[in-house]
Amino acid sequence: MTTVEELVSYEDALTSYDPVMGLEVHVELGTATKMFCGCATTLGAEPNTQTCPTCLGLPGALPVVNAAGVESAIRIGLALNCEIARWCRFARKNYFYPDMPKNFQTSQYDEPIAFDGYLDVELADGEIFRVGIERAHMEEDTGKSAHIGGATGRIHGASHSLLDYNRAGIPLIEIVTKPITGAGERAPEIARAYVAELREVIRGLGVSEARMEMGQLRCDVNLSLRPHGREMFGTRSETKNVNSLRSVERAVRFEIQRHAAVLGAGGTIVQETRHFHEDNGSTTSGRVKEEAEDYRYFPEPDLVPIAPDRAWVEELRASLPELPRLRRNRLREEWGISAHEMQSVLNAGVLGSVLATVEAGADAAAARKWWMGELARRANEQGVEPTALPITPAQVARVATLVTDGLLNDKLARQVIEGVLAGEGEPDEVVAKRGLAVVSDTGALGQAVDEAIAANAAIADKVRGGKVAAAGALVGAVRKATRGQADAAMARRMILERLGVTE
């Protein structure tokens, strides 16, 4: 059923046409409860254990708005430089689909809580591109379907489907851009950068973890082409559920090439939804709609309007965190690293951890080194994010400080980290329990040297007599006494000094 699409080269497509994009991003909020009922939102719960009459759409059940959902929506709106509605309502979007047990989605229609904003996006070469925000509105997620009997869980060919409504009713914020024009050949890069930046904004606000691989942030890509110089937009396609940054970029690129091929051959673009395929980066036609969608939106009669108090909105505005882009640039300067090095930190997903480690007293270079090196390596081995490792930034900072103070070398520090990860306690406890401290302070080392000389008087005499090579035995004795933690070169220097010999 998958038909191979004709494509023209990306360069040729851009020679003839100007792309226009519209990006719709759904963010699943990290609230403890659903948008309209008090059901838990815990990930990974057993199927249908987090439901109630409201989110199952049982007769007579009434919704009540989650205050934290509204607050998150306003904060997102403010972070995206939006106006916040003085008064707005929820609306019913009516359609029949098994993942929506009420047979309507509670959403917002012509009265979104936030509208008319923008997000400045920094591209790889440092250029800033402003993406206009049309609106951000509140709605709810659907249940999760599993399709049985078809090939690889696809809905096509399935004999029946199984529904888990744990996710039904979880708060969603849908963020819609204005038509993005003027992107030209950088459209795929801009789309990716926008979604990446939006994800950082969401994470910075702490309203969602926004993990795309978990479906907490999902992107629909609308794209159309118009001949250069034409004002009117072409017919668009809507590629649904593009769920990684790389896929966003690829989907835009593919659709530009596909549209150009269709238009170039004298054809017309069908307004339709399309599916993105991760494996080869292509899109295929979704079900062709027999008629235009008719959701018969009307104001939700079971909920009263939301009229955010202006003083509250201003309070929320004043407490917004620094924008991620500005914060990144500030930290980059403070840490004295290149844009490329900063990008590596971001790509590794450890910016917050490095920052927290620096704030806990570590040197920025050391904090970066541990998170990007040893911890990233261990996380990779275990197949988890570095931030998920059972070690806190404060603990990493302590290890870094022990190294700076000369109490640990890198090799021993790695063992301390291993101990902390293994649940052996704080870094200092691991050092004590495992006996890991480097013995290089002259006090402890000096004592060991003195003892070694006293215990090996004959050898010491030989050294005094000029047989410098014999000092090796004394160094060995010192290292033995300190269980290998003495710095050999320093021990040797001290032995020779005490015996009045130079090399």
């Binding site: 403890a32 009459p53 098994p98 060919g157 399935a158 939301i306």
Partner: protein, 98 residues
């Protein structure tokens, strides 16, 4: 001129997944047209200074704190399901063969 046509009733019936015969369409179109005509009289008195309302009570900002409340067990949730499998609601084929 308010009112509803037979075509609009047929469209709504399709959206509502109601199978109506030609006679029923004629019948309901006439009835619905009468009802809408009656309700439309509200527009005669609702002038510019009367804002449209979607709720009878003059309330705003009715919200609850983000605190988990006990819901249904999976068994309770599924108790009204015509069919179930793997602790999930079992529904018939969503897409027909194409």
């Amino acid at each position: 001129m308010p009112g509803i046509t037979r075509e609009e009733v047929a469209h709504l019936a399709r959206l509502a997944r109601l199978e109506l015969t030609a006679e029923e369409l004629d019948h309901f179109a006439g009835q619905l047209d009468d009802i809408i005509g009656a309700v439309a009289r509200v527009a005669d008195v609702a002038t510019e200074d009367v804002p449209p309302t979607s709720h009878p009570l003059p309330l705003t900002n009715v919200m609850r704190p983000d605190e988990v409340r006990p819901g249904l067990t999976a068994e309770q949730a599924l108790s009204g399901a015509p069919a179930q499998e793997q602790q999930r609601f079992k529904v018939p084929q969503i897409l027909g063969e194409e």
